[in-house]
């Protein structure tokens, strides 16, 4: 786990969680990306990826898997939010998209003893030591579908606005930490090879999903393979996207309103669409 990196500009050490070199001021230090880019992480992921490819070849699924990998290269990050939240974001390019921890700081509290909150904080502490408050979460999508339990508006993000500061993770990180029995310690026993930089997200998807692809898999099935909403949240299957730092309406590429509601919310959705259009964000 990186606790400091060498500044490419001045060659001095940059400690976590600072976003810019404290010595020369070089900006753009995104620790989730640095961690995903760690040599051991990448090597382990590469081994998983090659093993998946070999396995697919042995099953005569290498061609579909390669096609899947090619398609995944065009995947995007998607966030689901309520109409009200999207209206707020759409109202001005100065409205920021908050994080879970900012919500907590603002006074939002889940009931005492909520195991999920504990689990989530545990996972974030392990995955994002000292910088969890900077992280925003999304899911990887091919067609704009998302986890609508979070809200009926699916926000697809512009790749060019996040690719330099986003990383991807095998699955819901909280459940991953629980399943692997990971505890907080100086050196948490966090398995390597389960995260990747944005540019290498296809490798992670291949490593994770190759077993579900065979010679009969059609390209129109890729989207459901990548993201599948289960009966409960624990049954959801998706690649989690970790994005460092703020987002605004200008980070959005498209907003898809699912399950449109009547009356007041219909008016709100009309307003959202009108506002988004002014920011060149598609709405449907």
């Amino acid at each position: 786990m990186s606790i400091s990196v060498t500044c490419p500009e001045c060659s001095n050490e940059i400690p976590q969680p600072t976003e810019r070199c404290p010595h020369c001021g070089k900006p753009g230090i995104f620790w989730n990306v640095i961690t995903a880019n760690d040599a051991d992480e990448r090597a382990t992921l590469e081994r998983r990826y090659q093993a998946a490819k070999s396995d697919a070849a042995s099953r005569n699924a290498d061609a579909p898997l390669q096609e899947f990998e090619n398609v995944i290269a065009y995947s995007k990050a998607v966030i689901a939010r309520s109409e009200s939240e999207v209206l707020r974001l759409a109202s001005s390019n100065r409205q920021l998209y908050g994080t879970y921890y900012q919500s907590i700081d603002a006074g939002v509290r889940l009931p005492d003893g909520d195991e999920w909150a504990v689990l989530r904080e545990l996972a974030d502490t392990v995955l994002f030591p000292s910088y969890k408050k900077e992280m925003r979460f999304a899911a990887l999508t091919l067609d704009g579908s998302g986890l609508s339990n979070y809200g009926s508006c699916l926000i697809v993000l512009r790749n060019e606005m996040i690719s330099h500061r986003a990383s991807v993770f095998e699955e819901n990180s909280a459940l991953f930490v629980e399943r692997h029995g990971i505890k907080i310690s100086r050196k948490p026993n966090l398995p390597k090879g389960y995260r990747a930089t944005w540019d290498e997200r296809a490798k992670l998807c291949v490593a994770k999903l190759s077993q579900k692809i065979d010679s009969a898999t059609r390209s129109d099935e890729y989207s459901d393979l990548l993201l599948k909403q289960g009966a409960t949240s624990e049954d959801d299957e998706f690649i989690e996207v970790h994005i460092w730092g703020p987002m605004t309406v200008l980070t959005m590429e498209q907003v898809i309103v699912t399950d449109p509601k009547p009356r007041h919310r219909a008016t709100i959705v009309k307003a959202i669409k009108a506002k988004l259009a002014k920011h060149n964000v598609q709405a449907s």
């Binding site: 309520s82 209206l87 603002a106 009931p111 689990l119 007041h264 009309k270 307003a271 009108a274």
Partner: protein, 641 residues
């Protein structure tokens, strides 16, 4: 059943035992089983979670619907004000808004938010009203018109909030949290409406609005009182200072004397008051102060003569004069001074009346509330006294409020709680002599004689003239049989103050204990008939009962004890009742007296009490003689004093 609801998410979670179920506002009858891990997915990152305890599903449905309505109303209001949006959408929003505003609770919650900040320049309120005119939606029109009319006040209240120094909140995070609570609880709206009602905002300063015409509930003091007692705010750091700092610009600029009644115009030249921009400034404070002091001295003389009709008229004149020439707080302070004078002269009813008037004039004046607590304590309205002290603390007089509270606990006979309270005050205010004497008195009441004597000696070493400490020390010395030391500073004439009468009572007890029965009874009768303090009168009754018991006048002793009602004196009185009724063969009353001591275990287990029980309730042969019993009874009465 408990529930968590979010108007933003439009969802409710029901928690009933181990069961977790949710429903959507659109389908309230469709319950979906949930697990804890579903919660973040259910509510996402909404910031409006609300927890409802001990409820039922119908109530939750209503609450969720209401929260959703409030959220939609806010969204629709913002859409209606947005000039960037097409008129068609804005009209549709106004229509929806109008429908939601039929519920007055939605109006209030919406205004709680909208009144927290002045509208930004690009908000199109006029356009929204025009669209309302076309659509003729009355609820929306009323909301937007009020919003428009109140913009100057909203701006002033918002600016007053912004200039509160961050350090008063404790930091930026605490400031943000406080603002969040203030908006949610409707404090911005309340202050705007208060100012509007009272005509105190700067935009209304030029108007001749008389204070008397304002609703007394719509005053800055009432705003401070109501907000200061809000449970959410009470948990916030420095909440009183924050609220006072917020309201202070309005109090300084808009108090009644400065909003000029017509009748005062002619007086201006005589009081050397100048005007600038219509505001009255430069009051000749020294002249006013001299006049006030003169009036107060005359009133005190009238009180001394017990000419209460004249006192009433003079007090009216003083209050009127001060309200015309200064702040309400000044008039309140004068009334407090007079009340203290009345208390010193033993006229509790007048003390209470003056303080009640003081509190009504300046309900945000902590000192007045503290004096009110003291007056209520004097007349044994103990629960009311506690409330008054709570108010005193709420308005910044913490030390005196805590001391008053501890005194009330002591008067209630809750000695352990009182001792804890006094110890805490001494820790917080180590220089305060009142809390130290209070602590010593509790030790005395608990019969911890050596500890009490040490405590009094320590106080007297630093404050040799403190009458409370000196009386307390004399009391302990008398209980220890050191009569010559005890009587050295005790008065036998010129009894003016409460402490004079307490010292007189101790002198009587010493006379009684040293066999000077006639002199003792004279003192006690004098006290019963002539002291003005109701509680002190009861102390003399207790002492008189001991004297009658000593003379085997049991019926007279019983009668003397009949008039003792104060909780503080009941334990000692019940020991004496056990003796008086037991000796008369009235076992029912004697048993009742003994049983009443259950709440005072230290006295119930006392050797004297057990001897009286042994003799009179169990009918056993005496184990101690009458001298011993008398000696113990003197001690009980002394230490209850």
């Amino acid at each position: 059943m408990n529930a968590v609801i979010s108007g933003r998410a439009g969802k409710a979670l029901l928690l009933d035992g181990d069961s977790l179920k949710s429903f959507d506002v659109d389908e309230p009858s469709k319950l979906v089983s949930r697990r804890q891990s579903d919660l973040p997915y259910l509510f996402g990152e909404t910031q409006d979670l609300r927890f409802i305890e001990n409820t039922d599903i119908e109530s939750v449905q209503q609450e969720l619907k209401h929260d959703c309505d409030c959220n939609w109303a806010l969204d629709l209001a913002l859409i209606s004000l947005d000039a960037e949006l097409p008129d068609e959408i804005r009209k549709e929003a106004i229509e929806g808004l109008d429908e939601l505003l039929a519920d007055s609770r939605v109006v209030e919650r919406l205004e709680n938010i909208l009144y927290a900040r002045a509208l930004p320049e690009d908000a199109d309120l006029a356009g929204a009203l025009n669209l309302c005119g076309e659509t003729r939606f009355s609820n929306a029109i009323a909301l937007l018109q009020s919003f428009q009319e109140r913009q100057p006040l909203i701006r002033e209240v918002s600016e007053a909030w912004d200039i509160i120094p961050t350090k008063i909140f404790g930091g930026y995070d605490q400031q943000a949290e406080f603002q969040h609570v203030a908006v949610r609880e409707g404090f911005f709206r309340a202050l705007v409406i208060t100012l509007e009602s009272q005509g105190k905002a700067s935009s209304l300063r030029e108007a001749s609005i008389h204070l008397a015409s304002a609703n007394p509930n719509d005053t800055i003091p009432m705003f401070l009182l109501n907000t200061g007692l809000n449970d959410s705010v009470k948990r916030l750091r420095n909440h009183r200072q924050v609220l006072h700092a917020w309201a202070s610009p309005f109090r300084q600029s808009g108090n009644a004397p400065k909003i000029k009644p017509e009748i005062e115009e002619g007086d201006e030249s005589e009081t050397s008051t100048r005007r600038r921009h219509g505001r009255r400034i430069g009051i000749h404070r020294q002249a006013v102060l001299r006049e006030v002091n003169k009036k107060k001295a005359i009133i005190i003389e009238a009180i001394k003569r017990e000419d209460f009709g004249l006192v009433r008229g003079l007090v009216d004149d003083l209050v009127s004069y001060q309200l015309s020439n200064g702040e309400p707080e000044h008039a309140a302070k004068s009334l407090c001074d007079l009340a203290i004078g009345a208390k010193a002269l033993g006229i509790q009813s007048l003390q209470l009346a003056l303080i009640e008037r003081s509190v009504s004039i300046a309900p945000d004046d902590g000192w007045s509330w503290a004096q009110y607590g003291d007056a209520l304590l004097s007349v044994l309205r103990l629960d009311d006294a506690l409330k008054a002290y709570q108010q005193a603390e709420a308005f910044g007089h913490r030390m005196i409020a805590l001391t008053g509270r501890a005194e009330v606990l002591k008067t209630k006979g809750e000695f352990d709680a009182a001792l804890v309270a006094f110890n805490e005050i001494i820790l917080e205010y180590p220089e305060d002599v009142v809390s130290k004497t209070g602590r010593a008195e509790v030790l005395k009441a608990k019969w911890q004689l050596d500890d009490a004597l040490t405590a009094y000696n320590e106080i007297i070493a630093n404050h040799p003239d403190d009458p409370i400490a000196r009386n307390g020390r004399s009391c302990i010395l008398a209980a220890l049989g050191r009569y010559d030391e005890a009587i050295e500073y005790l008065p036998d004439r010129n009894l003016l103050t409460l402490q004079d009468w307490i010292g007189y009572h101790i002198r009587g007890m010493i006379l009684l204990r040293t066999g000077k029965l006639g002199g003792a009874i004279q003192i006690f009768n004098d006290g019963v008939q002539n002291t003005s303090w109701p509680l002190q009168r009861e102390y003399f009754r207790n002492a008189l009962a001991v004297a009658w018991l000593r003379g085997r006048e049991f019926e007279k002793a019983s009668k003397a004890l009949e008039g003792i009602d104060s909780p503080q004196l009941q334990p000692a009185a019940n020991v004496l009742r056990l003796h008086a009724f037991g000796a008369q063969g009235n076992l029912k009353r004697a048993t009742a007296a003994y049983n009443s001591l259950a709440t005072s275990p230290h006295l119930r287990s006392n050797e004297l009490t057990q001897e009286l029980r042994h003799q009179f309730l169990l009918g056993e042969a005496p184990r101690y003689n009458e001298d011993w019993i008398f000696d113990q009874e003197v001690k009980i009465v002394l230490l209850a004093a």
